[in-house]
């Protein structure tokens, strides 16, 4: 398969003919910010979804936004709209498969 079939910043890895899409996880301070981020990202063509914060955190319960691909440009977009977040996983190789 050709990698050009995916958005430019969507890194993919071919392993035994299976495409592994990397995902980035942005931890959000509240559900409200998670939806705000999700709507903004989707409106700019970044596939993403809101998930419950899965990994244990010092802070406890919360929500994260899972983005298909690297977190780099989505994160810049969120910053430009003053949407706070913290990167849990930046979308490097070996991240969870979406």
């Amino acid at each position: 398969m050709k990698s050009t079939a995916f958005p430019a910043d969507l890194r993919n890895t071919q392993q035994s003919g299976v495409i592994l899409l990397t995902i980035s996880i942005l931890d959000m301070p509240s559900y409200t910010y998670a939806v705000k981020a999700q709507r903004l990202l989707r409106s700019r063509g970044y596939p993403c979804r809101i998930r419950r914060r899965e990994k244990s955190s010092d802070r406890g319960c919360g929500y994260s936004v899972h983005i298909t691909g690297s977190s780099e440009s989505p994160a810049r977009l969120l910053e430009s709209y003053n949407i706070p977040y913290s990167v849990i996983s930046g979308g490097g190789e070996g991240d969870d498969q979406l």
Binding site: S30, Y31, T32, R59
Partner: protein, 378 residues
């Protein structure tokens, strides 16, 4: 039964609001922001959509749009939250008890110092009375956008200007104006408090606190927010910091539906319709000589008409009208300061139409008011 008590809460509600309530009961039975399963997530999404709708309506950010139980809670949260560390506060002489009582309590407990700006029918005089009271330690001005007794509109843009010039927080009570006038935060309001169940046509048990974020609001209630649960202190981030406990999700959904109804009907059309009914009511009765209207030609009024019928106390008159099936609020309208300022010792009767009232209903009311004084031939 014909309801002219819409300044207390609007009734009936639009069909779309009733449907939204049913849909919310049927589909949004999870707890918003408190779980990752399907039911919780779709409920959370519904709450956010309502928040986003309200935010856009008032020119605010969704995260700065806080759902409350009613306008009273929003005002208490704003006043106590901004004045937590003391300071001087100014309110108008037309405030509802929802603003007056918390500030008088804070002042009685010597937590704040308080001044009351007299409201005149002349806007310049009103603005001047606020200006004269501003001190170096003035932290906030709390002012209604329209009196809930007479409907008199206050010059809030000018008062907002005073606040801006002096670095003062402007807390506005929009209970009688939101949904009728296009109120936006860019008018200079820092914190807008309003009811969701009046002009916004949501169900009772709903209110909004909308902030531009420029003045921090300390929460007066702490508790579960669904976020940062391992921390023993309240999150600082809005809206969570001001929304402890399970929110009124069904109510919030109806507020969103109510705002969409207003947008679709047109806020100018709603105001125009209600103003027309008020003009009709006044014009039909003003020449009888036995009706006193609390209106002055120098002032502007929201679609509320306060009046008295000579020879009857306000409660007597409202009771007689109620017997004929007309719902009007009499007495003091939870506004001790306003009635003291107006000198209405026996209270007033308040005529407050909504978008659903008709000219025929107003004419029927007029007929019975005239009957009460045998004025039907006048």
């Amino acid at each position: 039964m014909i309801n002219f008590d819409n300044a207390a809460t609007t009734f009936p509600k639009p069909l779309s609001v009733r449907r939204a309530a049913m849909e919310a009961i049927r589909n949004y039975g999870g707890n918003a922001g408190r779980g990752g399963h399907e039911l919780a997530m779709r409920t959370s999404e519904a709450l956010y959509s309502a928040r986003e709708t309200a935010a856009a309506f008032f020119g605010a950010q969704p995260e700065n749009t806080v759902f409350t139980l009613n306008c009273t809670y929003a005002l208490n949260m704003a006043i106590q939250g901004v004045m937590k560390n003391g300071g001087h506060l100014i309110i108008s002489s037309m405030e509802h008890n929802s603003a007056a009582r918390p500030v008088f309590t804070l002042a009685a407990e010597k937590k704040i110092t308080l001044s009351i700006a007299e409201v005149f029918t002349d806007d310049e005089q009103t603005v001047e009375s606020f200006r004269r009271l501003i001190r170096s330690d003035t932290k906030a001005i709390v002012c209604t956008l329209a009196s809930n007794v007479t409907g008199q509109l206050l010059p809030y843009r000018e008062i907002a200007g005073l606040c801006r010039e002096n670095g003062i927080c402007f807390i506005a009570d929009g209970a009688q104006t939101c949904g009728i006038y296009d109120i936006k935060l860019d008018s200079g309001i820092n914190i807008l408090c309003t009811a969701g169940h009046k002009g916004l046509y949501g169900i009772t048990g709903t209110g909004l606190l909308i902030t531009d974020g420029s003045f921090p609001i300390s929460p007066i209630v702490q508790g579960g927010t669904g976020s940062d649960s391992l921390r023993l202190f309240q999150p600082e981030m809005l809206p969570d910091s001001l929304e402890s406990g399970t929110p009124n999700i069904i109510g919030a959904v109806t507020v969103g539906a109510g705002i969409r109804y207003i947008n679709s009907y047109g806020i100018d059309n709603i105001r125009s319709h209600e103003e027309k009914l008020c003009r009709l009511f006044i014009s039909e009765l003003e020449n009888t000589g036995d009706i006193t209207f609390l209106r002055d030609e120098k002032a502007e009024y929201a679609p509320i008409v306060s009046f008295n019928i000579n020879g009857f106390s306000s409660e007597e008159a409202a009771s007689m009208l109620a017997d004929k099936g007309f719902c009007l609020r009499a007495g003091y309208h939870c506004a001790a300061l306003a009635h003291a300022s107006l000198g209405t010792k026996n209270g007033t009767i308040r005529f407050a139409p909504s978008v659903f009232n008709t000219e025929t209903e107003v004419k029927n009311l007029v007929y019975f008011v005239k009957t009460m004084k045998n004025l039907q031939n006048s």
